[in-house]
Amino acid sequence: MNVTPSNMDMLYQEIILDHYKHPHGAGLRDPFEAEVHHVNPTCGDEITLRVHLDGETVTDVSYAAQGCSISQASVSVLNDLVTGKSVTDGMAVLDSFTQLMQGKGQVEPDEDVLEDGIAFAGVAQFPARVKCALLGWMAWKDAVSQALVTTHPPTTGDPA
């Protein structure tokens, strides 16, 4: 089945609609080390996202998001994919998802890494929607880097 602007089922895969209607891990929870707020300035979609780390492990990703089915489903999949993983593994998933989204439909998704995230392969062919799919992921990346600074403060080099 070809992905064309008139073929909606390739864009709105069942998996995406399921995540949209029943988002995983939605809501803002304590504790957390970093909270970020990201917006998509072209459409106004917004997300507030919190990250809770336990050492190197992502123990919770909680969020409140306002946006379209693609952005909502994407953050739900993110929650599934990175919670419980190490920060390094989570970042590897992020890289893989970003590559898929920016691949203009030329990147073959790795189901072992992306699981439900492979449903977003069709989105890559709708340039206007790629930002929707990436909104939550970019917020997560930002939150994790902030949380790492909090939990692993850079050493100042000051002799005690």
Partner: protein, 415 residues
């Protein structure tokens, strides 16, 4: 008799087929209008036969291009009833026209005084496009003046109840949209202009959505500045218009510095050309002036009163048909009274992005998002809306196609 089928024949793009061999249903004219062949041909002919730079090339083509460029100004001036052709300043779009006014009103002309300073107030409204909000925020921040604004009623009208406390002796500028790009509301400018002038304030009108769809006579309107853009009135992108009262323009300092805006230049200082050249630094939008001239000729040949009547009728038809859909809520005036041809709405359970994507899959082009009017959306407690907007070529069949596609959208998302 308004012959919409005949008009559509002038717009080549309206015959396009989209993905899936679907006919185009273009309902995004408030965003940008489509172009008739008369405009396309005029621009094409200019580049093929008359292209040269203006006002400086002493050869035959230079003379032709200069004459063509200035003819565009004459046509626009006549179209909006400007008493003097030199009151028409070309910019690159309406945003630049509004920025130009907001910038120069805060600057001090040689031997004069800035129009806006610390302690002064600028009044706008909650229903403005960002391009009539941000430049005034910048002006007031730069000068120490205060920004105030009219609210919007639940119905989507300007709340004029506090006009006497908003527009006071401290008010130096009132800037207001004529027709809201999001709500569709046509504002009662006469009341605002009268009040503003009674306290000595200048009035700037954002007419981006007005000039394309209603007859405009700036002399009768009585405002001090009027801004609009070419591409929304079947003209090309890349050209906007600032109309200003000549005495005012002549009292204001320049906007951008460069070629064509000077009288003379030495290494120490420059003196400036009179309006409109003072505000048109650099090579101007030449082919675009030819294009906007052809556009206003085209609109005039049909008649702005006829276009306004068509817009009114098609908007009434759309408001009726849309509001029969369960779960659809129009944001803005719900009847076609004092209302332009842009209808924003929400569809329960489906985000506007998804609505527009589904409509696009049926060949129906609308806009989804905040339409560069975030405060107006916030006022109605929505983050975004879907907007269908109509123009002289819009048909009832296209509205029917929109309604059918919305039913399909609801079914698709189980809403």
């Amino acid at each position: 008799m308004y012959d919409v089928a005949r008009i559509r024949e002038d717009f080549p793009i309206l015959g396009r087929r989209l993905s899936g061999d679907l006919p185009l249903v273009y309902l995004d004219s408030a965003n940008t209008s489509q172009k008739p062949r008369q405009v396309i041909d005029a621009i094409d002919d200019h580049y093929r036969q008359h292209n040269a730079n203006v006002a400086r090339a002493m050869h035959q083509l230079g003379a032709e291009a200069s004459a063509a460029f200035e003819l565009g100004r004459d046509k626009v001036a006549a179209f909006i009833g400007a008493p003097n052709r030199d009151e028409v300043v070309f910019t690159k779009n309406a945003s630049e026209a509004l920025n130009l006014v907001a910038r120069v009103l805060g600057e001090t002309p040689v031997g004069g005084q800035a129009r806006v300073g610390a302690g002064d107030e600028v009044v706008i409204t909650e229903m403005e496009h960002h391009s009539n909000i941000v430049p005034w925020q910048q002006l007031t921040q730069r000068t120490g003046a205060t920004l105030r604004w009219f609210g919007v009623t639940d119905e989507g009208r300007l709340d004029l109840d506090d006009i006497d406390t908003l527009i006071t002796e401290r008010t130096k500028i009132v800037s207001v949209t004529w027709v809201s790009n999001m709500l569709g509301t046509i504002n009662p400018l006469d009341v605002i202009i009268t009040k503003a002038h009674s306290v000595g304030a200048l009035v700037v009108v954002d007419a981006s959505q007005a000039v394309p769809q209603i007859p405009v006579d700036v002399a009768a309107l009585g405002a001090d500045f009027v801004a609009f853009t070419g591409h929304k009135l079947v003209g090309p992108t890349g050209i906007g218009v600032l109309w200003g009262r000549y005495d005012l323009l002549a009292s204001l300092p320049p906007f951008l510095g460069g070629g064509e805006m000077i009288e003379t230049v030495t290494m120490e200082r420059s003196t400036y050309a009179p309006p409109p050249a003072r505000f048109e630094a650099g090579t101007p939008p030449i082919a675009e002036s030819v294009g906007i001239g052809a556009a206003v000729d085209y609109l005039s040949s049909i008649g702005m009163a006829h276009i306004a009547a068509h817009e009114q009728a098609i908007t009434a038809y759309a408001l009726g048909a849309l509001q029969e859909i369960d779960g659809l809520t129009v944001v803005g005036p719900k009847e076609a009274v004092d209302r332009g041809g842009a209808v924003s709405f929400t569809l329960e359970g489906v985000h506007p992005h998804d609505v527009s994507q589904l409509l696009d899959s049926r060949g129906v082009a609308v806009r989804a998002g905040h339409h560069c009017a975030k405060p107006a959306h916030l006022r109605f407690g929505v983050q975004s809306t879907t907007r269908a907007s109509f123009y002289l070529y819009t048909t009832e069949q296209e509205i029917d196609a929109l309604v059918e596609a919305l039913h399909h959208t609801k079914k698709y998302f189980g809403a």
